[in-house]
């Protein structure tokens, strides 16, 4: 099986990148292996666990369910880029002080999802936060601390 390849150009974390990629390679393998962006993790490769969540053209997607070639021309933001822009610095700080993570493997994907919730903040109940996060699995925390961290960040942002 020879590997069919295609050249793609995309913007990753604010930088334009052109690479020739195997057409069968999914987006997160491309980001991790070819670009060294190891903050996005693979937990199931079936689109279930959410550890691979990245932002593509403003939407959070499962990076394991999208091929790299499908990201041709797209703007991709990973946890590394999201961190550098400071968009979720408040959330990240509260995650640390509230210990809303243990092993940290789900955390980047979890933060990508929460960033979407925080973008246009409006009041959300704890149950609402739990429902919003149900596509991101965490095996360590039991979720309570994560819900606390999101609730606190949301309140802070709404307070302005």
């Amino acid at each position: 099986m020879s590997e069919e390849t295609l050249a793609i150009t995309l913007n990753i974390n604010g930088e334009d990148v052109t690479r020739t990629v195997a057409v069968r390679q999914h987006l997160v393998d491309f980001l991790r292996i070819e670009m060294g962006l190891t903050g996005s993790h693979l937990g199931c490769e079936h689109g279930i666990c959410g550890a691979c969540s990245v932002r593509v053209d403003g939407q959070v997607v499962r990076g394991c369910l999208m091929l790299a070639v499908q990201a041709d021309g797209a703007e991709v933001v990973t946890i590394e880029g999201l961190t550098e822009t400071g968009e979720i610095a408040d959330l990240q700080e509260i995650f640390v002080t509230r210990n809303a993570l243990q092993c940290g493997y789900c955390t980047p994907g979890m933060l990508m999802t929460i960033a979407e919730l925080l973008r246009d903040p409006e009041p959300v109940s704890r149950d609402g936060i739990r429902a919003y996060l149900s596509g991101n699995y965490c095996r360590c925390t039991g979720y309570h601390a994560i819900v606390d961290a999101v609730e606190t960040t949301l309140k802070n942002r709404l307070r302005g």
Partner: protein
């Protein structure tokens, strides 16, 4: 100098012990800077993929790798037989402390026969994982299917195929304990309650799968393995012995570990194979299990059937407990920790919170053509606690007592320790009564019962569950791994050093997987030494850099490793004060260390900084008397001496709503009160309890490795194998009663498994409480909507 006469460092104002501090590792993880095994690459690295048995039991007639070997990008193929030649011999997963136990010899990959679906058979190594998998697809294997043994209930029947004929039968192990007079107690009993409980198989599902990057350097004959492990020193000795390398030439590094829960204290054939490939090729080989591989090769746990009965007097006194355990393990006993601990723990702990005297328990452990089982978070406790606590609720019902009241009447009294349990295990420093009353208060128990009753009026079925528990933590050297012949340390160690700058390096044998073990060790050392936390760095997870230790398993890190760290820090403190005394011409016992400075004890007048001690001790040693040779380093080890475990205790409560039309169970709130002795970092302890409880709830309600009659796993994806999601989990209230263990100065017991150990029991009790008006009861886990509707007679 007698440091013990000094004031207890934990009771000082602003002590780091007992204080919530954030984990340093957390800052890296939230920025995507965690570094897990798969994040590491090496020059010339290649990747391993595996052909696995599609059958639960089949002979290998022929293997043809020629097409795979000629595939572009494939650098090597290795069959199980070829790998066996590179190994010093097969593993046999028995421990001599389990008398009469037997298991068949096992090589890392199947040689001429596969005994479970998923067993590795052929390894293909390629430039990329994709190329290795391409090659693996082209391997052809001629199989001859063999009859399978997959039901534990019939595994010992004469008509059932014996998986390993050399063993004579499918029995791995049997054991019984009997305190005596059990039959007489039942004969005289006012009331007997009994049930048969079923526990489905489940597995750890760490979000980061098993991972190994092996790098053998033929020039130095050194093997360096980065691997997602809780127990680097155990892996070091196993790899050395299995692959015939000198142990001191093997370095095991555990970088960030993405969840473990006991999964990563074991040895796995595919990891050995990848390491052997690195030795054969002289280049780095990486193997990362994908999720399907994880489901069919990660250890499974829990599959048990327990028949149990309890004798109780009319006034609710538990008089006797009699249980019969049948455990279905895998095709082999997992090397080196075995597959029989779960059954053994059920024997040890069932009915453990209670003061009854008469206890009999029998366990049989049988082999099945399924994935090998072994230790997973809270080994045996979810089963033993469910059995015991479910029967206590039945006894409450039979005697007309409230579930809380019957427990109040039966738990061991807080002032009765040390004492023996009916199972013959010494219990000390426990607090069942204090935990029970604290739980009642935090739940608002009486009001909650009123609320439940008012919902019943409206046709809404809510249930309240209570489950007391004990948990064996921090096992000692008697009766287990080391004593049974396994190369596993039950002691642990800390080496602590004062650097020239006054900074402190603290290297520990216990390891962190996100619990905050490193943070907690730093807090203990800083408190014991009297230094600011930011002047200490903790090193863990590297056999080249840490003193020999058992690593993290069985809730031992803080209890065992923490005490070693405390003792090492106190020893270093003692030396620092001797050096300071020589420099200051003061008696060491008149000095103290506070906030990184040597001060006069009592007045805390500043005398000399630790930076000065470090500078003089390393660079200007001429300032010291000739008779004083500074070491500025101390190593201490700690082990339990007499105790089997440091037992902890606690109690959980939960509040659920059962939809009797759909069978859906909604968890409303959950409470845990537990006693892990001295709490080092309250927030980290709370989060261990919460995360553990949710893992237990997962086992109670969702998680199940479902096999068909041919031994095929039916649900090997995370879409099909359900783990708890945020939307289905409740908020969890956590409280601690702190009864320091008397076996150490630190006083810490284990905490990491306490949530898991009793959550399945309390959820089952709550569900059955909700179902009680309908005369319905469930006794099997996971409790699914289907099982609820069946219990209600609706389907």
């Amino acid at each position: 100098m007698n440091t013990k006469a000094q004031p207890n460092p934990f009771d000082r104002p602003n002590s780091y012990v007992g204080r919530t501090l954030s984990r340093a590792g957390a800052k890296r993880a939230v920025a995507g800077r965690g570094r897990y095994t798969d994040d590491i690459t090496s020059p010339r690295m290649v990747h391993a993929a595996f052909v696995r048995s599609p059958y639960a039991h089949a002979n290998i007639i022929d293997i043809d790798v020629s097409k795979a070997a000629s595939q572009p990008g494939v650098v090597m193929t290795m069959t199980g037989a070829e790998l066996a030649k590179r190994c010093t011999g097969p593993w046999v997963g028995v421990l001599s402390c389990f008398e009469g136990m037997k298991s068949a010899p096992q090589y890392p990959m199947a040689v001429d026969r596969a005994c479970w679906q998923g067993e590795p058979v052929v390894m293909v190594v390629g430039h990329t994982r994709a190329q290795a998998e391409d090659g693996a697809e082209l391997v052809t294997i001629e199989w001859r299917e063999l009859p399978v043994t997959i039901e534990k209930e019939t595994a010992l029947d004469p008509a059932t195929p014996v998986i390993h004929p050399d063993l004579g039968d499918n029995l791995a192990f049997e054991k019984s304990i009997d305190s005596g007079n059990v039959d007489a107690a039942f004969d005289a009993a006012d009331i007997i309650v009994e049930d048969i409980f079923e526990f489905g198989r489940h597995t750890a599902v760490s979000l980061e799968p098993r991972a190994v990057l092996a790098d053998y350097d033929p020039g130095t004959e050194r093997l360096t393995v980065h691997t997602s492990s809780q127990v680097p020193h155990m892996i070091q000795v196993l790899y050395a012995r299995t692959l015939g390398i000198a142990e001191h030439n093997v370095r095991i590094v555990a970088p960030d570990v993405g969840g473990s829960f006991g999964l990563k204290i074991h040895s796995f054939g595919d990891e050995i194979a990848a390491t052997a490939a690195s030795m054969a090729l002289g280049r780095p080989v990486k193997f990362i299990a994908d999720r399907l591989e994880s489901f069919v090769t990660d250890i499974h746990a829990r599959e048990n059937r327990v028949k149990a009965r309890m004798a109780v007097s009319r006034d609710g006194q538990i008089q006797a407990l009699d249980i019969d355990i049948l455990a279905g393990v895998g095709a082999y006993s997992q090397y080196p920790r075995t597959s029989v601990f779960e059954a053994n723990q059920i024997l040890n702990i069932t009915g453990g919170p209670y003061a009854h005297q008469h206890y009999r328990a029998r366990a049989k452990v049988v082999y099945l053509n399924k994935v090998p089982t072994s230790q997973y978070r809270a080994v045996g406790h979810p089963i033993g606690n469910t059995v015991g606590e479910s029967l206590v609720d039945r006894a409450a019902e039979a005697t007309g007592l409230d579930p809380l009241e019957i427990r109040r009447r039966n738990v061991m009294a807080d002032d009765s320790y040390p004492r023996m349990s009916a199972a013959g295990i010494e219990m000390q420093d426990l607090s069942h009564q204090a935990c029970l009353e604290t739980l009642a208060e935090r739940m608002g128990y009486a009001a909650l019962r009123d609320e439940q009753a008012s919902f019943r009026q409206k046709g809404i079925q809510r249930g309240i569950g209570i489950a007391a528990f004990i948990k064996g933590t921090a096992p000692g050297p008697h009766g287990y791994y080391g004593a049974g012949g396994a190369p596993i340390s039950s002691q642990d160690a800390c080496t602590i050093k004062l650097e020239p700058s006054g900074g402190v390096i603290c290297a520990v044998g216990v390891t962190d997987q996100g619990q905050g073990v490193d943070t907690v060790m730093g807090q203990i050392a800083a408190a014991a030494l009297g230094i600011p936390i930011n002047t200490i760095r903790v090193i863990e997870g590297d056999t080249d850099a840490t003193p020999y230790g058992g690593g993290t398993y069985a809730s031992r890190a803080t209890a065992i490793g923490g005490e070693a760290t405390y003792q090492a820090a106190r020893a270093l403190r003692e030396e620092i004060l001797i050096i300071a005394g020589a420099l200051l011409q003061a008696e060491p016992h008149t000095l103290d260390i506070v906030d990184g400075n040597v001060v006069d004890a009592g007045s805390e007048t500043m005398r000399i900084s630790l930076a000065e001690i470090g500078r003089i001790g390393h660079f200007q040693v001429g300032e010291l008397p000739n008779s004083l040779q500074p070491i500025l380093s101390a190593t201490r080890r700690f082990r339990l001496t007499d105790a089997l475990y440091i037992f902890t205790n606690g109690i959980q409560g939960t509040y659920v709503e059962v939809d009797t039309d759909t069978g859906f169970i909604k968890l409303l709130r959950h409470w845990v009160v537990e006693d892990c002795g001295r709490v080092i970092n309250p927030q980290l302890a709370d989060e261990q309890v919460r995360g553990g409880a949710v893992q237990g709830i997962g086992g109670a309600l969702f998680e199940h490795c479902v096999y068909d009659e041919a031994g095929q796993l039916q649900n090997g994806t995370m879409a099909d194998y359900l783990t708890p999601m945020a939307g289905e989990m409740p908020d969890i209230d956590v409280a601690h009663i702190q009864t320091p263990t008397s076996v150490s100065e630190l006083g810490a017991k284990g905490v990491g498994e306490s949530g898991t150990g009793a959550a399945p029991a309390v959820v089952m009790n709550a569900v059955n409480d909700a179902l009680r008006p309908f005369g319905a009861r469930v006794t099997a886990q996971p409790m699914t909507p289907e099982s609820i509707l069946m219990a209600l007679g609706k389907i």
